[in-house]
């Protein structure tokens, strides 16, 4: 495998998740806010798919909890949603890994629909409805960004091991 320096991987995982969290609250110009990709979910899907030994459901749950606090959402909401997609991503990682990147994007899109459904469902139980037409926009934008994520993360993952 490419990982000649396995001790550096957890550091990279944590840093990339933190970066994704910052991106998830970074102010966007104008009317772009509803189209913000689900950065944290994308990064988690990437890591659970690539290194399921390091990032499992536990990591996903903790990340989700932090995300809840960061977005001042109900505690456990994102944690639950991220657990679901982390589980799916781990179960299918051997299968999805061999797909071309655009087919992967479709699988990722399906996972994100599930992720957003869980969040929407929790919001619905709380009685906080949102404008449902734009609600699904992040799924589409995330699918578009998936190839970019794969490319960047591949560079990041190989960078340290090359040294």
């Amino acid at each position: 495998m490419l990982m000649s320096n396995p001790s550096a991987q957890p550091v990279k995982i944590i840093l990339s998740i933190l970066l994704a969290m910052i991106l998830s609250i970074l102010p966007l110009p104008g009317g772009l806010e509803p189209y913000r990709p689900e950065w944290v979910a994308l990064i988690l899907i990437y890591w659970t798919r690539t290194l399921p030994a390091y990032t499992g459901i536990g990591v996903a749950w903790c990340t989700g909890l932090l995300l809840d606090v960061l977005h001042s959402a109900l505690l456990g909401q994102h944690a639950l949603a991220l657990c679901v997609i982390a589980y799916l991503s781990m179960r299918t990682h051997l299968l999805v890994r061999v797909y071309p990147v655009f087919q992967q994007a479709i699988v990722v899109g399906l996972m994100l629909v599930l992720y957003q459904s869980v969040i929407l469902w929790v919001n619905g139980v709380l009685g906080e409805d949102s404008d449902t037409t734009l609600y699904w926009a992040p799924t589409l934008s995330s699918m578009l960004f998936w190839p970019v994520i794969v490319m960047i993360m591949r560079l990041v993952r190989r960078d340290l091991s090359a040294q």
Partner: protein
């Protein structure tokens, strides 16, 4: 999964998790700061590299404004004095509350685009508490929902899950103002069809909900629709507070006897009090 469901239930129904949330939130505060860094630095750059002429102009303008407000303040303190004296004569139990304010700055972070929430840079360290009202120079903004050591999250009055009791300044007609979400408008609920309410009526807080101080301007009625067969009017109002523009907001402590600081809200927001004091004094004189 079971843990998260239990967690969500506990968080929704009780307040046991508030301290946990505050702790985690404090730990994550650097992330908020990092996220607001780009827009902060562009702000800083635009101030630093602004032209001297522009700065002088601005300085001059602010100086004039300050003078005008000072003059208003003089009149106001006289009126306040007179008002409290007349109230004493009338043996009225209603007092203008002493309020203390603190200026907080918004952190440039986006939370959920479907929820009307903002993050400010003051927290428990500065004495902020849950439920504390938040205003800007024009009107009411919202109230604090979550606090950490150095930051706090506030829900705006336009959030669909937020409602407050308002009254029409003209006649004291009360109504429940509920947020509508994205459209940045308020909806007035449960106003009977025969109520005296007109376009352009100014709404202010009633103070009856025990959360907000009374007589802070909230908004203006912009649309009234009388649907035949409906027991209530459907009314829309435009909030005065610049919900998505103001960068600095004021936190208010109600019934706090913080002596010196209470000059500030009067400078920023003298209208509602001035508006009704002369009437009071006229009545008393007659």
């Amino acid at each position: 999964m079971v843990i998260s469901i239990i967690l969500m239930t506990v968080d929704h129904h009780t307040s046991h998790l508030n301290s946990t949330r505050a702790l985690l939130g404090t730990a994550l505060y650097p992330l908020h700061l990092l996220a607001s860094l780009p827009s902060d630095s562009t702000n800083w750059a635009s101030i630093t590299f602004a032209e001297r002429r522009l700065l002088l102009e601005q300085n001059h303008r602010l100086g004039t404004r300050n003078l005008l407000l000072q003059e208003k303040l003089l009149k106001f303190s006289y009126l306040q004095e007179e008002n409290s004296r007349l109230r004493e004569l009338l043996d009225s139990t209603r007092r203008l509350p002493n309020e203390r304010v603190l200026i907080a700055e918004l952190l440039a972070v986006d939370l959920d685009p479907f929820k009307q929430r903002i993050v400010i840079n003051k927290g428990t360290r500065d004495g902020v508490y849950i439920g504390q009202p938040l205003v800007d120079a024009r009107g009411l903004l919202g109230q604090i929902t979550h606090i950490t050591l150095a930051s706090a999250t506030a829900i705006l009055i336009t959030d669909p899950s937020h409602s407050l009791l308002v009254q029409v300044d003209r006649n004291g007609q009360r109504a429940l103002a509920e947020g509508t979400g994205g459209s940045k408008k308020l909806k007035l609920l449960y106003v009977p069809t025969n109520a005296d309410i007109r376009l352009g009526d100014v709404l202010s807080t009633s103070g009856l909900d025990g959360r907000y101080p009374s007589e802070y301007p909230v908004g203006k009625v912009t649309n009234i629709v009388r649907q035949p067969g409906d027991a209530f009017l459907s009314i829309e109002a435009q909030p005065f507070g610049q919900l998505d523009q103001s960068r600095e907001v004021l936190l208010i402590w109600i019934n706090d006897t913080g002596g010196l600081l209470n000059l500030e809200p009067e400078v920023d927001d003298p209208e509602p009090v001035i508006d009704d004091t002369p009437q009071e004094s006229e009545h008393a004189d007659e």
